[in-house]
């Protein structure tokens, strides 16, 4: 009888300490939970705006429901398609060309001593620390019509000045080079880290059997870092609807003449919101962007999970 009583009281004590512990831990996390709620979850309520005829004075709740009218309008006017196409095309190029170059750089760095790696890495990370605004300055010294270095070189060789900021046809190249220039050093870190984590026994064995460097890369390095590459590709696919606003807004100096080749969904939404104050259009576009992006992450992750669960993100 006494033993049972003791056991019960022990159980209760355990329960109390558990409760106390959970309560205290929750208390520690509360400030972060609240901030996340305000800045990440509250805005989700705004996702119903596209289904309403939103009038700021009436608020979201007070505005009238209009069904899919905004979506119909968005599709009918069709001005968004250029931006959608640009967003997808640029992101695909960024993703695949980016990963390829980053992996190559990582493979090259992997062959070098720690000291050499540090020197190259420091140099290649510089652009990552610069904001797109500063990158716009750098590009401006090159592309400025009168004083830019490129036009100086062109006229030196007898060519005629190019109005870079008025000519959309050059911009796909400029945008892609800018992106790679800023991103490659950073991206390579990830792959270099996973290469460094590999067991050197593989390479030693391969060397004994006379495998060349390229064979080692092809049959050892690349297969072994495939999980990391897969994850990076999944993350990239998930973000494929999201244009890098800083890149497309600053680097182009928001020059309207360049929109045919530089307008992406994010700059389009920004303009509809801030310049035109078209809340229906901007919120509807944003809604589609968020939802499609979410579906893409979930789907790609699901596919990877099916093929090889160990490579999946979650």
């Amino acid at each position: 009888m006494k033993i049972i009583k003791n056991k019960i009281s022990l159980g209760i004590r355990n329960e109390i300490t558990h409760f106390k512990k959970n309560w205290q831990l929750t208390a520690i996390a509360i400030p972060a939970i609240i901030m996340i709620f305000i800045f990440n979850y509250l805005p989700l309520y705004g996702l119903i705006i596209p289904f309403k005829n939103y009038i700021p004075r009436l608020g979201i709740a007070g505005s009238e429901w209009v069904g899919l009218q905004n979506f119909e309008f968005l599709i009918k006017t069709g001005t968004i398609w250029d931006a959608v196409f640009n967003t997808l095309a640029y992101n695909l190029v960024f993703l695949f060309v980016g990963v390829m170059i980053e992996v190559c750089v990582a493979l090259m760095l992997y062959e070098l001593s720690k000291k050499a790696v540090k020197v190259y890495q420091t140099a290649m990370l510089v652009p990552y620390f610069l904001s797109w605004v500063v990158v716009a300055y750098v590009l401006n010294t090159l592309l400025d019509k009168q004083h830019g270095i490129l036009n100086n070189i062109i006229t030196f060789f007898g060519g005629s000045e190019i109005m870079w900021y008025n000519e959309p046809k050059y911009w796909p190249v400029i945008i892609i080079l800018s992106y790679l220039w800023k991103q490659v050093g950073y991206g390579a870190i990830v792959y270099l880290a996973s290469l460094s984590g590999l067991d050197s026994a593989y390479f030693e064995a391969a060397k004994i059997y006379g495998a060349t460097k390229l064979q080692q890369i092809r049959y050892i390095s690349l297969p072994l870092i495939r999980p990391v590459i897969t994850i990076m590709l999944i993350l990239g696919i998930g973000k494929i609807m999201k244009g890098d606003f800083g890149l497309f807004y600053n680097v182009t100096m928001d020059s309207p003449l360049l929109y045919p080749t530089t307008d992406v969904i994010d700059t389009y939404v920004y303009r509809s919101l801030m310049n035109v104050s078209d809340l229906g259009m901007s919120s509807t576009t944003g809604f589609v962007q968020s939802v499609v992006g979410f579906i893409l992450v979930i789907t790609t992750n699901h596919i990877v999970n099916k093929i090889d669960p160990s490579n999946a993100l979650f």
Binding site: L42, L44, M108, V126, I149
Partner: protein, 302 residues
Amino acid sequence: MSKKILSRKGPDKTNLIPVHMVLIIMGVLCAGAFLLVLGSSFQSEKEIQQFGYSIIPRDFSLEAYKMVFTFPEMIFDAYFVTFITTVIGTVLGVFLSASAGYVISRSDYRYNRILTLYIFFTMLFSGGLVPNYILMTQWLGLKNSIWSLILPNIVHAWYIMLMKGFFKAIPEAMMESARIDGASELRIFLKIVLPVSTPVLATVALFYVLGYWNEWFLSLMYIDDQKLIKLQYLLMQILKKTQFMNSEAADAMTASGMPATEIPTLNVRMATCVVAVAPLLVVFPFVQKYFVKGVTVGSVKE
């Protein structure tokens, strides 16, 4: 690591020359591009007008920097706002991510899974520009408030996960003794966990500093008040030219008898850019180690 490098050295060392060549070219292109801005900032306005921008000035001139600091209010204000938002944002941000990261790192915490999901979900889905704009300007009324430059970026799921990974590796025994002594969870977190976690705190702090220092989007969205603009946004305005000519500095110059048209805008633009970027570029090579560590840790899957 060292063993592996040693073993890879040897017979095929000569093959590395092309590798070095490629990397040197890439390194020079990456690190060298900012020299375009730096070089141009040391040109005189006349030289730029005549010969264009150049990495190496023909006549080394400090004219642009003198101009920048002749009417320093504008840039000092921007520096001040940038500095304050960076400090407050970093301190609060690191603390918030650490606390959330610690709690979800505890596998004996009852709401571990749901809280992790709550945080992780924000990495997959967001409301987008318009809902955030309405939240900030209408619900929270933060338009033209310094908090609009701090709060929206204060918690990042990614940093929380990064912290969580680190905290998980802390040996349980360290906390056990304190728990037996009856220390509260908060006390254990503050007095035991945080002090042994300085490497990850430093790494995450670096990410925050970089993010807040380079931030311009929030200024673009929420700030009209010229007193509250940050360096990066000032740079944006200057690049669009109009602002500088219409600003107080230009007015002051005109008032002091100097025709506004003689403002050496082009080199001053570049000099302002250098002044804004300098602190980061000077500091970051030294703390790069932590930065690389952070990126590396972040890439390792849970």
